[in-house]
Subunit: 388 residues, 2 copies
């Protein structure tokens, strides 16, 4: 066994549980006078911001976000926050909203322009100061963005998505209230839930996995195997919604410290060419990646830790201590059927673009964390298997 | 099953592994110009501060700490840091040094006097601002103080130990380099290692345990059961030292979020009357507490989660899926024998003080987290069992 070695970063404080939203006033008490509240308008559900801010005795302005964060949308948000002399940030929404909030909070305490801090397209300067106080409140159970330290930003001019990345971008507090996810429709529940489930599995078998991320992922994999189906079929089941919020949280904590794998490598590449929901793309690929990964490991690294970890996954998801590789794969085929997961073809992915998808996927950090280096033939095989 | 609910705080970044100390210059790069280095002189071992600070291009002054933090010693340290215009803190040592460092870093960014922030003896004001940048480097594997958010301070005038406590006191980065623990003598290895082992077990069965702390503790309990003996008998075994450093880290992360139990409740009470090493007191009590706790649970809460968790512990430590309660107790008796753990009598504890120890122990936060409320007769029984 390798000796333990890791560099693990996460948010200082995680407040988790039904009705934790009631704690907002206490949590933001020391954050400053005026809040910049970033949200997607449809994500507010039951929350009365007016009431929360009144009982916290804070001023605030609201900033609505639509779609994924882009260079333009972020520059505009930063300007509004600055013109209004806001002291801190609250993000309420899905991954796009929380990513925007992380960048705005970071630009509030760091000099210069957004471009100074972007990799690839910008100057790639390191962030120097911890972001302004930032409370992240997710309203989906999927990305775990409330505890990751990067934001993906669209640069339409260059047809690129780039990351801004720093430990100093981590929100000050993440607050996960499962009641905010109760109204998610089944389709979004399935896609975001599959994303979360895949994140804890890919983190677990990643080449950069460590004992800290493993300890967290094991419990989360067991929970996802039981509760993802339940949230899809019974969206009002608070217990299952809560468990899936936990899976999503752990996915974010783990992936930020261990990286992911081929599913997310492909999803990044596909997402930069086609406009399909990220979770759906991930879900369409999971069984094929697992098949090809296990088969490659059996051939080229049969005694390694990764194959043992896949066996552990198969035992956990099937609750069967003698589950074989075939049992595990069949379990995922059944799950995807049950959740009505589309094929790549149905998602609008073009077979003619497979070579380009393979090429792009190999440049992603996720693909580099896959438990085994896959050759081009294997990468194409995954896309073919997931195609129809 | 209860629905998941927790409030989990920890440090932003944990750098763990052999030779991680080499990363100090990179880690403190953005921390400011001048370091206030708090250490216990004997704990420096292999570290050349001069080299580290030179390659980090930082000024620094060194402040030696002796014994546990007291009101006087902390006020003095804060003054020296302020007179020397230090921007940030590095603590290198055991729990006392890291506790001192946490308080000094907090007083550097918060107005007023130490007494303003102390519970019981002072004004108990909440800390308002995050502490100054603080890098915590433990040199023992025991307390987990590098990731806890309080410091225990001795007030000799009042014959009291009180806590200063706030999430804002958490170090900015904890760096755990197992090589720094290689030279610990066997006796200290046994006492501090037992403290760490007991912390992950008490956190696991605590009434305030949650799925986040449980996920972390399970792996740590298994590791402690294997590696504590090895570090005692073969102090130069780097793998085992590394594993026990991980156990200690997880103990700190867990206890800060779940509380402990009767062993630490008693140890707090005994520590305020007698001068015996904390880890030794904990070790002398562990078997007796386990016996009385299990017996009380069997009588008064036989179907609760706590008893199931004790059974899980017994299975994990014995590596035997059919381990009984007796097997578990016997395993601890053997461990304590093997590690030459002293009795309370040998540690200088007076039988005549048992009633006072019981009375004091009931006021501790640890005793309140014990998996079952113990009556005075049971508390006395524990002390009698551990006495000789």
């Amino acid at each position: 066994m390798d000796s333990i070695k890791f560099d693990f970063s996460t948010v200082n404080r995680i407040v988790f549980g039904a009705r934790s939203i009631d704690e907002v006033p206490k949590v933001i008490d020391t954050f400053g006078k005026k809040a910049f509240v970033i949200r997607s308008s449809q994500a507010m559900g039951e929350i009365s911001l007016t009431d929360l801010m009144a009982s916290a005795n804070k001023e605030y302005i609201i900033y609505d976000v639509k779609g994924e964060p882009s260079e333009t949308s972020i520059i505009k948000a930063v300007k509004v926050a600055s013109d209004n002399h806001c002291d801190f940030v609250i993000g309420i929404g899905g991954g796009s909203v929380l990513d925007t909030a992380k960048v705005v909070a970071t630009m509030m305490t760091n000099k210069g322009e957004l471009m100074d801090y972007l990799e690839t397209v910008g100057k790639g300067f390191p962030v120097r100061n911890r972001c302004a106080p930032n409370l992240a409140i997710p309203t989906t159970a999927g990305t775990g963005s409330e505890v990751t330290r990067n934001a993906v930003i669209d640069i339409p001019d260059k047809k690129l998505k780039v990351s801004m990345r720093s430990t100093l971008m981590l929100p000050w507090v993440s607050m996960i209230d499962p009641l905010l996810t109760l109204s998610l429709p089944p389709k979004i529940t399935a896609f975001t839930g599959m994303d979360a489930f895949i994140q804890v599995m890919e983190s677990f078998v990643s080449v950069r996995a460590n004992v800290m991320t493993d300890s967290l992922c094991i419990e989360a994999i067991k929970k996802a195997a039981i509760h993802l189906r339940k949230t899809y079929h019974h969206g009002d089941n608070i217990t299952s919604r809560t468990e899936m919020c936990f899976v999503s949280l752990i996915g974010g904590m783990a992936l930020a410290n261990s990286g992911l794998g081929a599913v997310h490598g492909f999803a990044g590449a596909i997402g930069s060419i086609f406009h399909a929901p990220h979770g759906a793309v991930c879900a369409s690929l999971v069984t094929a990646v697992m098949k090809v990964n296990v088969s490659a490991l059996m051939k080229r690294n049969p005694n390694g830790e990764a194959l043992t970890k896949y066996q552990e996954i198969f035992k956990m998801i099937t609750s069967n201590q003698t589950a074989t590789y075939k049992d595990g794969i069949q379990w995922f085929i059944d799950l995807c059927g049950d959740l009505d997961i589309p094929t790549l073809k149905k998602l609008g992915v073009n077979r003619g673009d497979f070579p380009e998808i393979v090429r792009l996927s190999k440049t992603t950090s996720s693909m580099k964390a896959n438990p085994i280096l896959l050759v081009d033939g294997e990468l194409l095989e995954i896309l073919e298997l997931a195609y129809e």
